[in-house]
């Protein structure tokens, strides 16, 4: 398959040229044709994602004669460690995916490594394509200290929402329905457990997905203002709140009742997903990025729903946002072409390709495109549209401080392992947050 790919790309280019298929972003003037190589670092290393990138790149090359894309693919871990040094070099990547949050994008803005995209945003009308809530996730003040406002530094091609995947076969065989309230959801958990099936397939050995289990429930209890203030580090909120303690005690309650996979603390994220995909466990709580994996090589059918509201008077939020954005190196000599490339990455054509791969695009699909009714992709699409419409897009709380991820992972393992009470948990995390707020002034 890999060997066939260059051939496939050439055919694709030929088709494009012959049919004169105009790329959709032609409305804006394309920079003048000149010989140049654009170095692009991305982290779409999984096959499905990588194919989308290759297609987009070759279409971009075809539409911009003289421009060559030199693509470098890395895993996110690898990218995080190497990118900062590479962006300092005069021959570093012109375009790169820069993880959001303080320890990546924030630190790079502080070091003056990224180009502010405000002018390009006006030129290419990105502000019309993305809501302000989406743009703020890729924004920092010029000093890199305040997250969520100031300059725009990146545009994201994909969207993410954390919710509940369920095994349709298991649900149908037992007559279970997608719950519409949190009480129904908990009753469902009890019913599934009573049948001897694992209600929530889960593995916390890698640490980070425990943050999602906790925070998914936390998002039902707090207000959008609170979660924005917390993550953007403004208005002096605290982590040590009754809502966060309640979310932690719900987790401990689910542990006590055996709702998670037996021995979850010793199972990794990928392993737990493999088991879920093979039909073990009725549900799993994770992000829409898994959808692409769940439609290939399996005889099981999966659906997706948002965790239902716990309190009717509160906005039902879900963890979500946009994927890792593309940014431009400040010292790139091809900034205009790089911006044209960014625009290409968030074009309707890109949306179409991501959707075909089963992955949520951050921008709307081209007019007239249809989504298969009842498919897993349409479920995630509905979920994403719902929280956007209700202004209920939450946050990854591990972005909050540079050490928040490590603190949360360690403290949540203690919550799930029941060596710590919810009150001790929120107090320990608040200590991290207070130290950050004090130091960031």
């Amino acid at each position: 398959m890999k060997k066939l790919f260059p051939l496939f790309s050439i055919l694709m280019i030929l088709t494009l040229v012959l049919t004169a298929c105009k790329p959709t972003s032609q409305a804006t003037p394309t920079p003048a044709a000149e010989e140049m190589t654009l170095v692009v670092w991305d982290q779409f290393y999984r096959d499905v994602e990588s194919n989308v990138m290759d297609t987009l790149n070759s279409e971009f090359e075809a539409a911009h004669p003289g421009v060559k894309i030199e693509r470098v693919v890395k895993t996110l871990d690898d990218l995080k460690v190497t990118l900062k040094l590479a962006l300092e070099q005069s021959d570093g990547p012109d375009v790169a995916q820069v993880n959001q949050g303080r320890s990546d994008m924030g630190a790079m803005v502080q070091a003056d490594l990224l180009l502010p995209l405000n002018d390009y945003s006006t030129q290419y009308k990105w502000d019309e394509r993305f809501s302000s809530s989406v743009a703020s996730r890729n924004s920092f003040t010029a000093d890199g200290k305040t997250f969520g406002q100031g300059n725009l530094y990146g545009v994201s091609p994909t969207a993410e929402v954390v919710g509940v995947y369920y095994n349709k076969g298991i649900f149908e065989a037992n007559g279970w329905k997608v719950p519409t309230t949190f009480d129904e959801f908990e009753t469902l958990l009890a019913d599934i457990k009573a049948k001897g099936i694992t209600p929530i397939s889960f593995g916390s050995l890698d640490g980070w997905n425990a943050i999602h289990e906790f925070s998914a429930v936390q998002h039902l209890l707090v207000t959008p203002d609170y979660i924005n203030n917390l993550v953007y580090g403004v208005n002096n909120v605290s982590f040590d709140t009754p809502e966060n303690q309640e979310a932690a005690s719900i987790m401990q309650d689910w542990v006590d009742k055996g709702y998670f996979t037996d021995g979850f603390a010793g199972i990794g994220y990928d392993d737990s997903n493999k088991m879920f995909k093979a039909g073990e466990g009725a549900m799993t709580i994770t992000g829409s990025w898994l959808a692409g994996e769940l439609i290939n090589d399996t005889d099981q059918q999966f659906g997706f729903f948002l965790l239902p509201a716990k309190y009717p008077d509160k906005v039902r939020m879900a963890i979500g946002g946009v994927g890792i954005p593309f940014a431009i190196r400040k010292t790139s000599t091809h900034a205009d072409m790089a911006a044209a490339y960014l625009d290409w990455m968030v074009s309707p054509r890109a949306a179409e390709l991501w959707a075909q791969a089963g992955i949520l695009p951050a921008m709307s699909l081209p007019e007239g495109s249809t989504i298969e009714e009842g498919s897993l992709f349409s479920d995630t699409m509905v979920a994403w549209n719902t929280i956007n419409k209700e202004n209920a897009v939450g946050h990854y709380i591990d972005w909050t401080t540079p050490t928040f991820y490590d603190t949360l992972v360690a403290e949540l393992q203690k919550v799930f392992g029941k060596t710590e009470t919810p009150a001790e948990f929120t107090a320990a995390v608040q200590e991290d947050y207070a130290a950050f707020l004090a130091g960031n002034k």
């Binding site: 630190a107 502080q110 050995l205 490590d406 393992q413």
Partner: protein, 299 residues
Amino acid sequence: MNVQHRWPGESRFHGWLYLLPGILIYLVFIFYPILETIRTSFYQWDGFSKNRIFIGFENYINLVGDSQFLLALFNNIKFIIFYTIIPIIIGLFLASLLGRKKLPGMTFFRAGLFLPQILSMVVVGVTWRWIFNPVFGPLNMGLRAIGLDALTHSWLGDFKLAFPSVGSIGTWVEYGFCMVLFLAGMQRISEDFYEAAQLDGANAFQQLIYITLPSLRPELGVALITTIIAALRVFDLVYVTTRGGPGESTLVTGFLVYRTAFLQNNIGYAAAVATVMTIVIFAIALIILRFQTSHQEEA
């Protein structure tokens, strides 16, 4: 008489020339980075921006009160039990089984038992992570197959068991190395000692204590130094299996350095941790070497 004093063989200049490639590699890839690390430890720096602030000993002062660092250091010291003490005991036991008599298939046993030592730690970690998997790992499946369901655990996720589980992987890696070292040493010991001891009525255990062990002092020294260093600088195994969890129960200084430097952008502080660990390791190695050479001089 005017005899020019000369060293035998080629001139000393030639000698240095032969050493040059090695010295260059050492200077560029080991000595210079160590100096840079020490220098960095006196700065507050994120590792890539231009604002590097000299803060003197502040990083070191903060280390003293950093509960995570102290916890990690204590875990490293606890790892010595699994990386050094248990492997040396197992190594001695196996060497005395394999060393004295010619056994059929001896080469097979020797190679097989040594094998873990030559595997990459990442491969070892990934394999053991699978073995310890509570649902489909061979360890729990085996226990269930023989009816010992009560003994199955979530090995790497259990607050009490994660540390000994990761530690026992270290034991599995190191014991073969100790065994081969001791086997080599035993070949040096003359059979006469054992015959004399047998005539005097010494049993196998007494022969081990009074003949084998004292004769193996140089090998014991090497085993101690290498395995203690391995215990103090463990990173890959923890990175692959538990990432320091659950909670902080398997957090070690090596992982702390990685996390602080590359994930939290605090290179200065990470360099201070690394420098302290380098000093600790140097000190321990020196003490063992001192101890060993002083005994050799006595003998």
